[in-house]
């Protein structure tokens, strides 16, 4: 117990004091509101203990949006700091903490939960299943992610934020150079969230391989299900590497081991090597689902079958394979010599080939289609040129010799934002606009949606395009300031203004959610986009059991053909049977709580309390092992009632292919 209590709360910075006060006020406000509205049991029954994949998905999405807000504020703070030369808004230390938390939060606590959330809501529906393979484990995934995210987020008010970059390279991240406990948060919070992600990966592999409805062979599976399957496989392959690396980091930082210190016989670059062995596959983990989302949207809104479906599947699998073989491109400058660098240059450039195939497939899908320019399609259209810029600059960076010039400059920062923002953020927005009616029974407003779209896309380009030139002029990344003589001022200012526009775009999104919840038309069809895949073959919002009768699939774009041939859309009373569903459980939530508490003690290196708290983890495991409860039945009569309500015309799905 060697932490001094006066260092427990971060003090002395008015920004942070403001944050502390607002956190306390928000918590008090939430508790007061829940008590006032008498919503505690509702919260517990409907959400905290739920094992329903749709609700878990919505909780993931909600957390992801909040984390996007947090990470975005970090981004704006950095842009404000560098808007003019020699600015004194943030000092060097604070800037370090801000880019570190920004990077970690954006990748692990924004991109991952938003994508996993969308998968959760959509995948079982798309493959015609009633839930994921292991519903309770799915809840555990969510609560572990949430635990890790919360632990990481409190760092800036309690104990101090990690400050060694989202990559946390050694020796910088070791105890010797970063003695504060801030970096313990990195090792422990990410570890906890990572376990959740790994479990999700396993869950989705099993779900997709084993729970597809009758007739849906792998090659008749919608593209988003395909990319989710491949993403899950990469998760299972790559996350354990990070688990091990973080465990080694924890040993080094907490228990004085020397895996990554040269003077102790370790090797600092081993960290970089392990980090990127996970880190590069990770960027494909976040971008592949996006490719699936765009594929669904392109085909729905062009009213055509996806062009080159088979080549798309092969391309995704090819990207997944290559993604394991490129990690060294993140540290060419380490100096592994020409052989190593050349090999990794080649593998990296090869990735452009399958990616290019996908680009052309999307373009050819649109060709001669009757394109409907709704918001989801707008995001998809903007994605193509923006991601192309990200991809082309990626090939530039892939050349090891040239990379010695670009390395560690804002050119790189611009490059990866040009891949991550179109590839993840645009995709998530597209997906939310597209599937919102499925989740909540009403659309998001199209007009506000277009404001959101234009402000965000324009703001994004103004923020990051100048950074390419700044980088080429030699502006380094992770630097909190620059001199006026460097001449960087104007471009940095332009970039800062761009980020303000982008922020207004995000605000429009939040406003859109608010507006649509209050005013949007609830009287819409269960298939408002005239879509092609099975998730639209049931009610919106989706009933607990997803499908009264599991659909049967004959072709790709199953629902489209069901509509066209008028087959399988109706259901007769006698076809409806009792439906077996899993029960809610408090164990996953409980596990989330004990992991948070144990993790918190471990961060502060209070070993005895940590050991006691982790007994709770074992308790959870044991209780679960003796839990023989295997669910309940929804009676056919109740199912009939629900079905009658949404199938207005003699039990028919409303819309018809037009």
């Amino acid at each position: 117990m060697n932490i001094k209590w006066d260092e427990f709360f971060v003090t002395g910075d008015p920004l942070i004091l403001g944050a502390q006060i607002s956190i306390v006020l928000t918590m008090v406000g939430i508790i007061a509101l829940l008590t006032y509205l008498k919503r505690w049991t509702w919260l517990w029954r409907e959400w905290l203990t739920t094992v329903d994949h749709k609700r878990i998905g919505i909780m993931y999405i909600l957390s992801g949006v909040v984390m996007f807000f947090r990470g975005g504020i970090d981004g704006l703070m950095m842009k404000a700091q560098t808007a003019v030369p020699e600015n004194e808004f943030l000092n060097a230390q604070h800037y370090n903490e801000v880019f570190t938390t920004h990077g970690v939060i954006m990748i692990l606590f924004m991109a991952m939960p938003l994508l996993i959330g969308i998968m959760n809501v959509i995948i079982p529906l798309q493959i015609g299943a009633r839930d994921v393979a292991f519903p309770q484990l799915n809840a555990l995934s969510f609560w572990l992610f949430f635990s890790g995210a919360m632990l990481f987020n409190i760092s800036f008010v309690i104990g101090g934020s990690p400050d060694a970059g989202w990559t946390s390279y050694f020796p910088m991240a070791g105890k010797e150079f970063s003695p504060s406990i801030g970096n313990n948060y990195y090792a422990i919070a990410i570890q906890i969230a990572g376990i959740g992600t790994l479990i999700s990966g396993i869950n989705f592999i099993v779900t997709i391989l084993k729970m597809r409805t009758k007739g849906m062979t792998l090659m008749k599976m919608p593209m988003f299900s395909w990319t989710t399957l491949i993403t899950s496989i990469i998760i299972v392959a790559a996350f354990p590497i990070f688990t091990v690396a973080l465990a080694l980091m924890t040993f080094d930082r907490l228990f004085g081991a020397h895996f990554f210190t040269v003077s102790g016989g370790g090797m600092d670059m081993l960290w970089a090597n392990l980090f990127w062995l996970w880190g590069h596959p990770e960027v494909y983990i976040v971008v592949l689902p996006a490719f699936g989302i765009f594929s669904e949207i392109v085909s729905t809104f062009s009213r055509k079958r996806l062009f080159g479906y088979t080549s798309m599947v092969i391309a995704v699998a090819g990207i997944a394979f290559l993604s394991m073989l490129v990690w060294v491109h993140h540290f060419y400058t380490m100096g592994s010599g020409p052989a190593v660098n050349s090999v990794f240059s080649l593998t990296t450039m090869l990735i452009a080939v399958p990616t290019g195939i996908k680009m052309f497939n999307w373009l050819f899908t649109m060709r001669k289609g009757r394109i409907n320019f709704s918001t989801p399609m707008l995001w998809t259209l903007a994605f193509i040129p923006c991601f192309l810029i990200g991809g082309t600059t990626g090939v530039m960076l892939a050349m090891a010799a040239a990379d010695f010039q670009y390395h560690n400059t804002l050119f790189l920062v611009a490059h990866f934002h040009y891949t991550l923002i179109p590839g993840v953020v645009f995709a998530v927005f597209a997906a939310l606009y597209y599937w919102w009616p499925k989740m909540f029974g009403h659309k998001l407003n199209e007009k506000i949606g277009k404001w959101h779209f234009w402000l965000f896309v324009i703001g994004f380009n103004f923020t990051f395009f100048p950074m390419f030139f700044l980088g080429l002029d030699g502006a380094v990344r992770r630097s909190f300031t620059y001199s006026a003589e460097s001449g960087y001022g104007p471009l940095f200012l332009l970039s800062a203004i761009g980020s303000a526009v982008l922020a207004i775009g995000f605000a429009m999104f939040v406003y859109n959610i608010y507006w649509s919840i209050r005013h949007a038309d609830r009287n819409i069809s269960s298939d408002p986009w005239d879509a092609r895949t099975l998730e639209w073959a049931t009610a919106s919002p989706v009933q607990d059991y997803n499908f009264a009768k599991l659909p049967e699939v004959k072709t790709l774009d199953a629902f489209w053909h069901m509509k066209k041939d008028n087959e399988g859309l109706t259901i007769e009373d006698k076809e409806i049977k009792d439906i077996h569903m899993p029960n809610n459980s408090g164990i996953p939530f409980f596990m989330g709580v004990v992991f948070t508490v144990a993790g918190f003690f471990l961060v502060f290196e209070w070993y005895i309390p940590a050991a006691i708290a982790s007994l709770g983890i074992f308790a959870g495991l044991i209780i679960r092992s003796f839990d023989y409860n295997d669910g309940h039945h929804i009676h056919a009569e109740d199912v009939r009632k629900v079905e009658r309500k949404w199938r207005n015309r003699k039990g028919e799905v409303h819309k018809h292919v037009g």
Partner: protein
């Protein structure tokens, strides 16, 4: 193949056992009775070990049998690929060029 193995004489087990014995004795003989350099010996017995592990997976562990046969093969190949990339890749990257000095 599986129905055969269940009822009749377990021929594949016997063959597998014999080959395993041969491989084991070969390794022992090479290690103890030859005058090859240590490096060559390590390479040879290492290869024999990997070969024998594969043989046993197929002959004794029924890897290719049953409804999950194909899946098992894919999984093991994939696992081996990942392990090779991670272990051999890391060694190669961290011990060549300037990084080695």
């Amino acid at each position: 193949m599986s129905s055969n193995a269940e009822k009749g004489f377990p021929i594949s087990h016997v063959v597998g056992f014999l080959i395993s014995l041969i491989l084991t004795f070969a390794a022992a003989w090479i290690a103890l009775k030859t005058t090859l350099s240590i490096k060559v010996i390590m390479w040879i017995i290492g290869s024999l070990a990997v070969f024998q592990a594969g043989l046993q997976l197929v002959m004794f562990m029924h890897m290719t049998e049953g409804e999950d046969g194909k899946v098992n093969i894919i999984n093991i190949t994939y696992g081996a690929f990942m392990a090779a990339v991670i272990v051999l890749g890391s060694i190669w990257v961290l011990t060549s060029g300037h990084a080695a000095h």
